[in-house]
Symmetry: C2
Subunit: 221 residues, 2 copies
DNA sequence: CAATTTAAAAATGTATTCAAAATGAGAAAT
DNA sequence: ATTTCTCATTTTGAATACATTTTTAAATTG
């Protein structure tokens, strides 16, 4: 009676695998041995293959025919390429979000942001990545452009898996988030767009800086 | 001996299905009966399911658990949403293409464009869609941002399937293409970006106009 | 001892099978 | 005549089965 089945195994396996990759339970470049993974997840290889197909299209996994599926690793160049795209897409999203602003979502997000600000440094570091993903995703949702939600979602996911542990000061990001939210609240499209632009620009240069300092290893393909 | 196997059945089936959808051999909203399709393509349902999974992620197909897969139909709103995204992404691509210009690709594309211009109206109408897809794809390839190539490719595909037969005057597009190519040839990023912007803007308003004139049917979801 | 060959084991790609759910046609009831 | 119910048929979801290829490790060779 209470049961809701709008998710089949395919979908569940897909979500779980995605999570395992993003959280680095599955290492970059690691081969995904089908039997092993399937029994680990308690399913057969069949739903696994559909999940691989989806993950391949969002560049989280790579297929080499007859040799198997591998967790895709991202080079620094690719990470910056993604930021270049985010810079274009998320500004569009922010602008549209300001136009179609849903205040209940907006206020919920504001509260969450304030909550994060009041956390101590240690807790913040742990909780930030997931919050950050949600922040960006929800703003895209406010734009009411499903394609945008989809694409930005999968990019942020790729980003997420790759910048874990290279955040500098999450607190700075939080204040940038607040100004983006402020612009959306006042329905100012252009301001929202430029606030988002500088937010992502900062993140991007943070990565460039990090790459210089710690010579981000460019994994071969 | 001559055989090259870097494509498995999954990939072949995926490509073929994609083509069938874009070329309207499979109608929007049509249910994809697995056994039937599988035997039509001469494969089992297994590779079909992987193909569905990929097509679902690029929004060409929609899954309703326990009921099946359906060819996704695109509403006018969604089509315009896609154009909004193309406007952001392809401008980025054009700008980068001008920065990293590969002259051999550029000249090949220029020749092709001139060839199109010299076709008579009837032939042009037939040949244009495929050429147009190639034009936009190759420019993204010149940008050397794989993610961009991927995303724009799948969007243009969706577009392609939906604006077939609603082109007004392909010849106008061709001259816009020439000015984009000119800007890239002279390595002028900003000019390339703005030329691409106005090209896509024109296409977008053409669609808006078409929608007004012929009341584009907004298919229900 | 390194390089090559060979044979066994493991893993992949794909088809097949089977249980559970959805669909559809006809019978019964209102 | 329309709705509801029943049951056979179709279709899906997911596991299993099997042929082919890849990997591995041992055995052989130079």
């Amino acid at each position: 009676m209470y049961r809701v089945i709008n998710e089949d195994l395919n979908e569940q396996v897909y979500r779980r695998l995605r999570e395992m990759i993003v959280k680095r339970e599955l290492q970059p470049n690691q081969k995904l041995i089908q039997e092993e993974l399937a029994s680990r997840l308690g399913v057969s290889r069949t739903p696994l293959l559909s999940a691989f197909a989806k993950l391949e299209r969002e560049m989280l996994v790579k297929s080499i025919p007859r040799r198997g599926y591998f967790v895709r690793s991202i080079t620094l160049k690719e990470l910056l390429d993604i930021y270049e795209i985010r810079l274009r897409l998320e500004t569009l999203g922010a602008s549209e979000a300001a136009r179609k602003c849903d205040h209940s979502v907006l206020e919920a997000l504001s509260v969450k942001t304030d909550d994060m600000i009041s956390l101590d440094a240690e807790k913040l570091k742990v909780a930030f990545p997931e919050y950050d993903y949600e922040f960006h995703t929800l703003i895209m949702k406010m734009s009411d452009n499903d394609f945008l939600v989809n694409m930005v979602g999968s990019f942020n996911l790729v980003t997420l898996g790759n910048i874990m542990g290279m955040y500098r000061d999450p607190r700075g990001s939080l204040f940038e988030h607040k100004s983006i939210l402020g612009a959306i609240r006042s329905l100012d499209c252009e301001l929202a767009e430029s606030a988002m632009f500088s937010h992502i620009s900062v993140a991007k240069s943070r990565i460039e800086q990090y790459a210089k300092d710690f010579s981000y290893e460019a994994e071969e393909r």
